[in-house]
Amino acid sequence: MTVQELPGTTAYRPVPPPAWKPLTDPSPLLPDREPFRVLGTPAAAGVEAALLVRIHAELVRGRRFNTQATALTKQGRLAVYPSSTGQEACEVAAALVLEQRDWLFPSYRDTLAAVARGLDPVEALTLLRGDRHSGYDPREHRVAPLCTPLATQLPHAVGLAHAARLKGDDVVALALVGDGGTSEGDFHEALNFAAVWRAPVVFLVQNNGFAISVPLAKQSAAPSLAHKGVGYGVPGRLVDGNDALAVHQVLGEAVARARRGDGPTLVEAVTYRMEAHTNADDATRYRSDSEVLAWRDHDPIRLVEDEMTRRGLLDEETAGRARDAAERMAAGLRERMNTDPALDPAGLFSHVFSGPTSQLAEQEARLRAELAAERDEADGAEAGR
């Protein structure tokens, strides 16, 4: 086709080019300018006492889980622990808003969310203890393996949610990712697929200010990370990530929206990583104590307790019950993590494929022979003693 071939002399019509139309109205997709809050606002009064008490207990238990796990690293019982201390409101709310049939896709920092969802803490910690990559059956509690390669779990969540929808199942997937993780291409591709497929999935970005040592300002120049939603046709919501009631409400709405068939939501929770990146990290290299201190005033448990106090809900009995439950969990964890896990080295070959290949069978036999020889030697040494 050349211009010469064009028919006639129709005058230029200043109409939108034929294929273009705004696909969606952008306004409802944009986040508010301030993070959404409930605690410390009049809305807090409307929240049911039972929910407040439940969330408080979960937060206290969550904090205790974090401190206990960190203690276990010092005792050499955990190789490494990326603590979510300070982020418990997000972790706990993510677990609470889901139904049993829903799925959670945690990142490597979200052991707590998995535990709050019902996972056995010892099984949830195998990755970080180093005995198994993922010590639980993901299908049992519908928790995907804790994901180490950043943002790669997001397309999984989309695919799973999409599959469930295709099968006609009422299942929502909630995927967790960090502020740093939003920079990865997988974040982009997952959000886009979710939007195009209208998949019932909720993305929760825990913006805790840092990706290891890299502060948000070096990670993004966006008005907020929630502003990324509109570029996919996904509503972006900004929430105070230390306000457990706010996170619970915003995530709850997003899950409900997904369940209704209205598609994905991107939630940015503004929070703060109170500890170093992991126990192996030295946070003093890249941030000041005063910054950390400022966030103590905004502690998620504290905020909830202030509201409970205001409403007379934080009596000694309630506080004690929460504390006791947390201590029981911690004691159980301590005890069970104190024994060395039973491990069968020959099991290294058992699950590479559904059945053994001749190559792996050969290698397994070789390892078994080595292990037998080792045992014989040890027995010999013992007998000789």
Partner: protein
Amino acid sequence: MTTAATEAPAVRRAKPATMAQALGRALRDAMAEDPSVHVLGEDVGTLGGVFRITDGLAKEFGDDRCTDTPLAEAGILGAAVGMAMYGLRPVVEMQFDAFAYPAFEQLASHVAKMRNRTGGAMPMPLTVRIPYGGGIGGVEHHSDSSEAYYMATPGLHVVTPATVEDAYGLLRASIASDDPVVFLEPKRLYWSKSDWSPEEPAPVEPIGRAVVRRPGRSATLITYGPSLPVCMEAAEAAVAEGWDLEVVDLRSLVPFDDGTVAASVRRTGRAVVVHESTGFGGPGGEIAARISERCFHHLEAPVLRVTGFDIPYPPPMLERHHLPGVDRVLDAVARLQWEARS
């Protein structure tokens, strides 16, 4: 698993069938038999794929079973992982070899590892179809032989057909497998033909078995995918030189059929590995090393390799110089130290 196509196919095709048709038929039959099989990729729906392998699937099974995705390979494979986690059997089409690279992390860090990571709890019954190799005049990035990457990734099966019948049988077996399979389609054989017709039920080949395509006594040519026709032609031409060459088609690079390969080389005492992938770090090194380990005392000559050069894939007008042809295969056979035997 059965292969019976109980209903007549949507379109009656005349004999002979092409490899492209056989692949399409395998997808169709798998989808018809098992509602959990889903096809996804770029242009696989309305267009039927740039090679038309998925032609008609969206029409027959609907957009939800054969889905045009956004243009993002990591997203496609990542979504397929999630679908497999929910119990579906996704079949992903990568448009060309080099365009599978954006999905490399998903493949290496998740597809290959998910079952193992979860102690068997979470299998990955997922097939990634990748048209690969050159010889079709493709512009840059459209002719890579990327099988070495997948072979070096434990947890993946790597399968590649060289005949029309195997295209059907191996693809059916790959889709039916509970393990992830990288299914490499030799794109220059897409239009190769066979008397087999898609109307006939074709055997589903189990994954992991090589096959002797031509029995012979002088030496063994070990090959797969796009280089099989080259080796068959070389074997015919070698007759005039007095060599009776055996040709082994590996069909599956992982798992590797050591039994068939070693038995052949023990019989013939000489071996040449032929593939169009680059030589250095390519599949031939592994294959030659395995043969030497297993058949050392039967070898009359070192195992030689005839491969593409160790260069980025050339532009179309020069690709014939890069691709191993009959002459190079015969040259290698001639270098197998024939004097040594006498």
